[in-house]
Structure formats: structure tokens, C-alpha cells
Amino acid sequence: MSFLLNCILFLPAIGALFLLAIPRQQATSLRRWSLYISLATFLLSLVLPFRFEPASAAMQFVTNRSWIESPPIRYHIGVDGISLFLILLITFLSVLCVLVSWNSVQEHIKEFFFFLLLLETGTIGVFIAMDLFLFYVFWEITLIPLYFLIGIWGHERRVYAALKFVLFTLAGSLFMLVGILWLYNIFGTFDYEMILRGIAAGTHTFSAQEEYWLFLAFFAAFAIKVPLFPLHTWLPDAHVEAPTAGSVMLAGVLLKMGTYGLLRFCLPLFPEAAHKLAAPVMVLALIGIIYGSLLAMVQPDLKKLIAYSSVAHLGFVVLGIFSFNQIAVQGAIYQMLNHGVSTGALFLLVGMLYDRLHTRQIRDMGGLATPAPILATFFLITSLSSIGLPLLNNFVGEFLILLGVLQERVLYAALAATGVVLSAAYMLWMYQRVFLGEAGAKQQTMPDLNQREKAILVPAVALMILMGVFSPFFLRKMDVATASLLDHAGRREIKVERHSPVPKPEPKQDAQLLGRISESAPELPATDFLPLEH
């Protein structure tokens, strides 16, 4: 089965290479080829959840072989319940991105799709890399295509925005690189699972202070990517200037790299520090929720509005992750998917509006429901999903996050819940100003959605309903992986035990699991390097 995962990872990149062979005059062939490749990747990835074994905490679909002998860097990829659906999110959004760029990209079509497909491979790699060095490589690879996507096909201030995006991200990831090298110094390996086992078995430890610095080094990279308040200012610029497909990938996937990193690395690798710093991080997340919502409320630019709403939504995710409560963490993972689908769809819709009106300013719109009722309906459903209406996807994630956080800190949950009210305020106000009222002379002739656009939006909306009504299909596959990760991270005492006054034997199982892992752990190779303190 490991072949499958390799296919999913490299098919877009290989497709991108073949794309180069197609003559640039054949615009339709270029588009079709990109569509076929992204569609094939998506279909392949659809197999994953059905072949996935939800009862196992171990990585699945694993390929683990040496890539570089010395230093020992491994090509180690795998999927667990945490990353499973994130892969599907990427492949799904990529198809939509190809479709939405069909007509709106008219120049350098070949290069555009080349970078788009390359971005797909890069982002998939981030979520499946199980070797820290490999992870870092994919992490940085994603920068390049997006830099060009924004810088070449963006709007007026595209160069500024692209540079800002790259500089911010790079500044953070350099800290992470130092952290990765430092970890290698201690453990003598870049392999994530081996490091995790080393920590669990207690063979290698770091001092409390060392752990702090390491945590912060990783945290810096992820917090900028999320982005966490006050490191978010690159995001509105990047979104506003990016072409539609860039915004979709940025909001839908790139931001999740940050939250995924926090969850995958910061929590289990540096549990002590993560616990100690949880409170300030959660406060930043809370500020992000409220601050992002308030700023979203007053934005005159549609894309900026959605960008700030992303800051708020991602605040929820970070809040859930740092609560160390399993319900909240699963809610947070779910919320990553939800945000990808809903905000992705919002950017698609804004892109469609832009194609028609050539503006993103809310004041230049109004009354659009009259000429384009179908577009308005899709926009409304997507907005409702974004503000967490029950039976749509976001509600499930937000509810689980709030439920879990409330078990730990009542006040935080109450404050976060104000975001629910605020999100209704800014989204509905925006919807009103864009779609309701009397349409202006220019808007009255605006065409409604065409077949291609419907083909983009129908699956997105269907997914919102599906994820809002049948959430256990997704959530149940995360149970074991999340529990195992939180065991490494030293989860808080579970206060809620359902229907059983007698404690469940669950912890024992986990202990066995842990024991088995540490037993089977091979001897760690002695390090060539001395830890820095010596």
C-alpha cells in the first residue's frame, strides 16, 4: 500500500514535468492535462480512508528508506488519523483550483499550472513526511510555487505581498531549521518516530531550558504560518494580492501546515514546555479569535475580510490544540478540514465575483442576488457554514473545541464563544452589503454561475453538508491517533468519563501500547556530535 501514498505524493509533480512538454499555444490541452492530473491524484487519495485502519495508532502506508547516508536522512512517509483527511483536503482543493483558474488565468498558462501542481506535491509532502529533514525540505518547497503564483499572477501589489509572505515564513522556518539540527545533535537522527520513542523511553532527555528553546524554535515557524496574533499581518496582504487559486491553497492548505506542525511536533516532542506555555498561547489564540472577528467586521475589501476571519477561525484551532483535551484536539483537526473547505469555497466565490465585476470592494457591490440568485445561494450556504450553523461542517469542529476547552478552562471557552456571535455579525453584514438591496446599473447585467462554476461549487457545498451531518465517518478515524499523540504530550486528566462511574481501563491499554513501542525500538545509534552543552 505504500506505493499508493508515493503515487499520490509524486503524481502532481510528475504531471507538472510532463506539462512542460506541451506546447504553450495549446491552452486547452494545458488546462485539461492539469485537470486530469489533479483529478487522478484526488481519486487515488479517495482510496486512503477506505484502506485506512482506524484502530491502529501507527503510521500507515509507510515508506521508510534511506535517502542520504550521512547524515542519516530518511525518506520516511506515512499517514495516520491526523493527517489522513488533510491529504484529501489538498487533493480536493487542487482540483477546484485548476477548475477555477480555467479562464481567469490567461497569461503564462503553462507556468501557472506547473506551479500549482508543484504546490500540491509540496503540501502533501509536508503532511506525510516523518523525517524532520524531509519535512523541512517539503516545508520550504511549498514557498517557491506560491511565491511565483502570487508574484506573477497576483493583483496590483503582488510583488510586495509575495516578498512579505516569503520573508515572514522564512524568518520563522529558519528558527525551526536550527531546532531540527539541535534535535539531531541530541538524538543522532532526523526520524520523527525514533525521536519520539527516544523521548518516551527516556534514553535521551533535554534540560527544561533546552526544551523551552526548542519548543520556541519550532513554535516560531508554525505560529507565523497559522498565523497567530500578532504575526498575522502578512496574511491579509498575501490573500488580497494572490490569484484565486493561490488564495484557496493558502487559506485551505498552507495555514494548516502551521496548526498541523504545532500538533505533530510542538506537543509530543516538547510536552513540558508545551504545557507550561499553553496558557499564553491560548490567550494569543483567544485574542486572535476576537481581534480577527472585529477586524473582519470593518474591512472594505472582501478578500481581506475573509483573511481576517481566517485569523479568527485558526485561533479556534490553536485554542483546541493547546487545551490538551482529546475532544478539543479532535475538534481542532476537524476544524482544519472545515476551514479548508469553507474558506476555500469563500475564496472561490470571491474569485468568481471578481471575474465578473473586477473589484473586491464591498461598496462596489450590492443587490447581486437579483442578477445572480444561484451564486447568491451558494455564497449564503458557504457563509452559513463559516459562521457555524449546525448541520454544516464548521459547527461540529467549533462545538467540539468549545466542549473540550470548557472541560479545562471555562472562561476561555466562554470568551471563544463570543467569536460565534461576532462571526454571524461580520458575515451577514457582508452578505447583506454584497447581495441584498437594489442592484446598480452595472451589476444588473452580471451573469449567474456557468456550468463549470457550478461543478466547482456543488462538491464543495455537498462536502459542507456531508461533514456537518456525518461527522463520525471522519472523526472516528482520528480517535486512536489523537489519543496516542496526546499520550506523548502528557494529556491532562480526563475529567469526563461517559456513563461509567468506574474508570475505564483505557490508560492501561495506552501504557501497553507505549511499552510495545519502546520495546520494539531499535537501539539508537550513538551520536557523532556532542550535545552543545558539553
Binding site: 520573508l167 515572514f168 500578532p230 499581518t233 481581534y291 472585529l294 477586524l295 467586521m297 470593518v298 474591512q299 482529546q326 475532544i327 479532535q330 475538534g331 476537524y334 443587490g367 442576488a369 437579483t370 452559513l384 450553523l389 449546525p390 448541520l391 461540529v396 462545538f399 467540539l400 468549545l402 466542549l403 470548557l406 472541560q407 471557552a413 466562554a414 464563544a417 463570543t418 460565534v420 456571535v421 454571524a424 455579525a425 451577514l428 453584514w429 447583506q432 447581495f435 441584498l436 438591496g437 437594489e438 451531518v469 461527522s471 463520525p472 472523526l475 472516528r476 482520528m478 480517535d479 489523537t482 489519543a483 480526563i494 475529567k495 469526563v496 468519563e497 461517559r498 456513563h499
Partner: protein, 653 residues
């Protein structure tokens, strides 16, 4: 009891109707759209009726599939049928059916016919989910869903700026309340480790009564916040009068008969929690009592027929909430039912009037309509008598127990009784003011038809005419219900069977009052109280008759005499303005000027920008060191060498 009632069909059939009309309605004829929508509601009503008659002693549960499941948390789609939810389902589908039929006539030639019926059916889906849900989370689904439909239907004439505004205001204000509900939901789970009624309610009943504020009190107060939002209670009532910009059948169904009573339903549903949190119960009674009185006073001076009815609705729901607050849950639901009949009738009657006058809603411009609209007139009169609570109309039998309980209940007191009886007097006054101004006196319709302010409502011109039969038949059925609907609850005192209370008793078994309640008041006291309330109602009617029929100049004189007070009340105590300048404006201005322009753009992004600029300047300076000048390079080399040597010397020594 039947083994399988398939309760899920009750809400799902309207959902299918909504989907059908939403997807294909645009291409269908009005007739087809109406058949689908009305047919769906009719089927749903029949199913609810079947469920009602299948009702047994114990609550009946149906569970379908898991909705949310993560780690130890589980929530199902499950439905719960007990006397309370059965009655609610019947009210919703029954009144809903009549209003749908009425709307077939009212909304024709309106544009957006399919959209209207799609939303209406969708509303019924959510409302039925709300009342039939078997756990608080699923109730929240319905709760939010009806809010959404309310938003869509208030803003039905979305090209009008004010209608769109009103829809948004309704959604956001009720969402403030939903915030309370949501937190309550989370707290219920962390207290009881379940959200199912079948587990939460017995667990709550087994807890001791909280003498000081504990978790139950907190939960109950938060639920009250939710109820206040949805049921338009003080201080969150401001959205309901504006909601009247929606089409009139919407006002009747959503903003009078069903959705706005959801707050009463949730309190009654959680009665087992409330009776264990007496402080919360007191707050419920207080909020209800104040709302009932306060909204009624505003109703006295308003001039828009629908707005008067809106304030009347707020006031009447206040009554129900107050009844809950004195632990008279069954009386509250009784009033909820009779109110659904007569208030729906009032709204539909008002709609008939507006329809006849080509969109006129100002009662000062009406008058003498009894000659033109005989069926509307008589049915409207019955509704007025019902809301004024005169025997033998339904309102009498439902309002009287509330007043009585407000006085005798261990949670009640003379204060609540006073609030109640005052409100009763004001109610019968304002409703008959409306009645006399509209149907009696001289016809002023010439003025009305030419004004044509409300362009969105059906515009007919010429002599006022009675509505078509498809609109008057529902009026007459509702009139019959407003008259006789209260007879199911005639208490033992009036030699009735007290059927209502006996029927609902199982639903409130867990909220049974402490036994010392048995301190019985003799029948004579109760009769005196009843006579007092009848007297007050009659006085209200008499005063209205005097001021608006006999001596209209007196009303104007009174208004002139009390100019300050009159202006204050006419402007609804300026609460909207206060909210706007206290909360809404500051939030927007602070967000825009301080947070966005000050903090985000200047402080945060500015400092990053500054960092970038400084880096660039530094780089610029370093660049100049590489001047290409050999002598300068030699100088740097020497400087470096000196530094290096002195460092090594330092190390050596």
C-alpha cells in the same frame, strides 16, 4: 404505544418539500409550488396527529444515527415524544398548515413564490426538529435553523434596505442569546456527561435543590439568555418589531405562533433543572413579568397594525415566561397554544386588512372596515376577545391559571400577580384600540389607497374588498380554535375536567412542586381573583371604546397632556437608539479606527515594516564598505588582524 412511529418523517417531509421547491420551484407554476408546500405540511400534520394519539405514559424515544462522535463524546440524531413535544408538534404543524393555506392566496402575484414556500417549509423542518429533538444539541440545530429561516423570511423583500437590515438584526440579536444557549449546552455536558433529555432530566431531578447559585443555576440562567433572545424578552426583544417587515404570513407563523415561543418551550423542557435552581426561576419570572408589562405599554401608542401585534406578542410571551418562572409550566404551554391560535388569527386578519387596503398598515388611516370585510371583522373580534381574556374565549382559560399561579405558587408572589393583572388590563385596552380604529368609525380608505407607501405588499386599488376564500377559511378555522381552544383546559373549579393539566402532567413529573404546595386556597379566593381579572379586561375594553369610539378627542387630549411620556413610549423608550450608540457604533468605530488602523496597520505591521526598512538600510551601509578601493580593503584587513591578534593575546594571558 406503537413500536415504531417513524418520528423522523414529521420534520423530513417539509424538508423534502423545501428541497423540491428550492430546486425546481422556479420552473414550476404557482399552483404546483403551493401544492407541494401545503401537501408537505399536511402530511406532516397527519403524522404528528398519529404520534399524538399513539402517546403513552412514558416518553417515547427514537434514535437514528450518530451525528458527532469524538473521543468520549457522542451525540445522536434522536427524537423524543412526550405530551409536551407532541402538543408542540401539533401546534406547529396545525397552525403551520392553516398559515400555509392562507399564504397560497396572500403571496400569489408576489414574485419569489417558490422561494417563499421553500423557506416556509424549511422553517417547519427546523421548528419540528427543535420540538421533537431528543437532546439539547439537536434542539440547538432546530434553534439555529429557525433563526436562519427567520432571517431569510424577514429579508424576503431583500431589495428593500430596511427589510434586509431587519433580518440581519434579528439574526444577530438572537445569536447573542444563542451564545447563552451554547455555553449552557457545554455546561450541561460537563455536569451530566450527556445531552440527552432522558439522561439529563432524571439526573437533574435527583440533585438537591440549590440554595445558593451552583452549576444548575448557572445553566438555567444561560438557558434563560437563550430563551430571551429567541422569544424576544427584555433586554433582547428589539429585533421582533422590526421583524414585521417580512410578509404577513411569516409574522403570523414565525414571529407569533411558533418560533418565538421556543424560549418558553426550552424552559418548560428543562423544568426539572429549573425547579432545582430557585434563583434562576425567580429571574425567569422577573424577566417574563417585566417584559409582559413593558411591551404592553409600548403597544398602547403604536400606530402600525403589525407593530402593535408584535409588541403584543412580546408581552404575551412574557406572560408565558412568567408562568414558567412561577413553575406553572403546564399553564405556560396552555397559553402558548391558545396564543398561537388567536395571535396567528390576529396577524392573518391584519394581513387581510392590509391586503384589502393595498398595503396600508397605519391604523390611523383605517376605519369603518367592518362593512367591507365582514369575515375578517368577525374573526378578528373573536381573536380580540380571546387575547383580552374574556370568558368563554380560549385566552381566558389559559391566562387565568397564570395569574392565579403567579399569586399562589411558592415561587410566585403578589408582585408577579400585579404585573400580570396590569398587563391584562393594558392588553385588552390596546387590542380594542386597534380593533375600533380599524373596523369602526369612519372610513378613511381614500387616504390609504393613495398613499401606497408599502410598495412590496400586494398593491390593489379601489374599494376595500374581502379576501378570497382561500384566505378567509383559515381565518374562520382559527376563530373557532380561538373560541373553543381553551375548553380543553377548563379547571375543576369551573366544573371542567382539568384535562390539560392531567394530560401534560407526565412531561413535568420531574418538576413536581414540593409537597408543601398543597397549602390550598379555598375556592372563594380563586373565584374572587378570577372576577378581578375579568373586571380588568372589561375595563380595558370599555376605556378603549370610550376613547376611540365615543369620544376620540379625549385620546388626543390625553396624549397632549402627557406629551413627554407619550413621546417616550411612542419611540419605544429609545432603546434601539441606546443600543445603537452604546454597543453597535462603538464596536464598529473602535474596530475600524483603533484596532485596524491604529493597532494592525500602524503598530503591528508598522513595526515589521520598520524592521524591514532598518535591515535594508543596514545592508546598504554594509554594501558601501565594498567600495572596490584597494586601500580601503587593506585598511579593513589591518583592522581585522589587530582584532584577531589582540583576541588571541587575550586568550593566552
Amino acid at each position: 404505544m406503537e413500536s415504531n412511529l417513524q418520528l423522523w418523517l414529521i420534520p423530513t417531509v417539509p424538508l423534502l418539500g423545501a428541497l423540491w421547491n428550492g430546486l425546481w420551484g422556479k420552473r414550476s407554476s404557482e399552483r404546483a409550488v403551493a401544492s407541494v408546500a401545503v401537501g408537505a405540511v399536511a402530511v406532516s400534520f397527519l403524522l404528528a396527529l398519529r404520534a399524538f394519539f399513539a402517546l403513552g405514559d412514558a416518553p417515547y424515544l427514537e434514535s437514528y444515527f450518530s451525528w458527532i462522535a469524538a473521543a468520549s463524546f457522542q451525540a445522536h440524531f434522536n427524537f423524543y415524544l412526550d405530551p409536551l413535544s407532541a402538543v408542540m408538534a401539533l401546534i406547529v404543524t396545525g397552525v403551520g398548515l392553516l398559515i400555509h393555506i392562507y399564504a397560497v392566496g396572500y403571496m400569489s402575484q408576489e414574485g419569489g413564490y417558490y422561494r417563499f414556500f421553500c423557506y416556509m417549509n424549511l422553517f417547519l423542518f427546523f421548528m419540528l426538529t427543535l420540538v421533537l429533538a431528543g437532546n439539547y444539541l439537536l434542539m440547538f440545530v432546530g434553534w439555529e435553523g429557525v433563526g436562519l429561516c427567520s432571517y431569510l423570511l424577514i429579508g424576503f423583500y431583500f431589495r428593500r434596505e430596511d427589510a434586509a437590515d431587519a433580518g440581519k438584526k434579528a439574526f444577530i440579536t438572537t445569536r447573542l442569546g444563542d451564545f447563552g444557549f451554547l455555553i449552557a449546552l457545554l455546561m450541561i455536558y460537563s455536569t451530566f456527561e450527556s445531552l440527552n433529555y432522558s439522561e439529563v432530566l432524571p439526573a437533574a431531578a435527583s440533585l438537591p435543590v440549590e440554595s445558593t447559585a451552583g452549576p444548575l443555576t448557572v445553566i438555567c440562567l444561560l438557558l434563560l439568555v437563550g430563551a430571551a433572545g429567541k422569544s424576544a424578552q427584555v433586554p433582547l426583544y428589539v429585533w421582533l418589531p422590526d421583524a414585521m417587515l417580512g410578509p404577513t404570513p411569516v409574522s403570523a407563523l414565525i414571529h407569533a405562533a411558533t418560533m418565538v415561543t421556543a424560549g418558553v418551550y426550552i424552559i418548560a423542557r428543562s423544568s426539572a433543572l429549573y425547579v432545582h435552581a430557585p434563583q434562576a426561576l425567580f429571574m425567569v419570572a422577573l424577566v417574563g413579568g417585566i417584559t409582559a408589562f413593558y411591551a404592553a405599554t409600548i403597544g398602547i401608542v403604536q400606530t402600525d397594525i403589525k407593530r402593535i401585534l408584535a409588541y403584543s406578542t412580546i408581552s404575551q410571551i412574557g406572560y408565558m415566561v412568567m408562568a414558567c418562572g412561577v413553575a406553572a409550566f403546564s399553564a405556560a404551554i396552555f397559553h402558548l397554544m391558545t396564543h398561537a391560535f388567536f395571535k396567528a388569527l390576529l396577524f392573518l386578519g391584519a394581513g387581510s386588512v392590509i391586503h384589502a387596503l393595498g398595503g396600508e398598515q397605519d391604523i390611523r388611516k383605517m376605519g369603518g372596515l367592518r362593512h367591507y370585510l365582514p369575515r375578517t371583522y368577525w374573526s378578528f373580534l373573536i381573536a380580540c376577545l380571546a387575547i383580552a381574556a374574556l370568558p368563554p374565549f380560549s385566552g381566558f382559560f389559559s391566562k387565568d391559571p397564570i395569574l392565579w399561579e403567579a399569586y399562589v405558587s411558592p415561587y410566585g408572589g403578589i408582585l408577579f400577580w400585579l404585573l400580570g393583572i396590569l398587563t391584562a388590563g393594558i392588553t385588552s385596552f390596546y387590542i380594542f384600540r386597534l380593533f375600533f380604529l380599524t373596523f369602526h368609525g369612519h372610513s378613511k380608505t381614500a387616504v390609504a389607497t393613495s398613499s401606497g407607501i408599502h410598495v412590496a405588499e400586494p398593491a390593489h386599488h379601489g374599494v376595500p374588498h374581502e379576501s378570497p376564500p382561500i384566505m378567509t377559511w383559515p381565518l374562520m378555522i382559527l376563530a373557532a380554535l380561538s373560541l373553543a381552544g381553551g375548553w380543553v383546559g377548563i379547571p375543576a373549579l369551573w366544573r371542567g375536567g382539568d384535562h390539560w393539566n392531567l394530560f401534560l402532567a407526565p412531561a413535568f413529573r420531574l418538576a413536581a412542586l414540593p409537597t408543601e404546595h398543597a397549602v390550598s386556597h379555598d375556592a372563594a379566593t380563586e373565584i374572587i381573583f378570577t372576577l378581578a381579572s375579568i373586571l380588568v379586561s372589561v375595563a380595558g375594553i370599555a376605556l378603549a371604546y370610550l376613547l376611540y369610539c365615543r369620544r376620540p378627542e379625549l385620546a388626543a387630549a390625553a396624549a397632549a397632556r402627557l406629551r413627554g411620556l407619550h413621546t417616550l413610549v411612542l419611540n419605544k423608550y429609545y432603546v434601539d437608539e441606546i443600543y445603537r450608540s452604546l454597543f453597535v457604533q462603538p464596536l464598529v468605530v473602535v474596530s475600524r479606527e483603533l484596532l485596524w488602523k491604529g493597532m494592525d496597520a500602524a503598530a503591528i505591521d508598522g513595526s515589521f515594516q520598520g524592521l524591514a526598512n532598518r535591515t535594508r538600510r543596514l545592508g546598504d551601509r554594509v554594501r558601501r564598505m565594498q567600495s572596490g578601493n584597494i586601500r580601503s580593503y587593506a585598511g579593513w584587513v589591518v583592522l581585522g588582524a589587530i582584532l584577531l591578534i589582540s583576541f588571541m593575546v587575550g586568550l593566552a594571558s
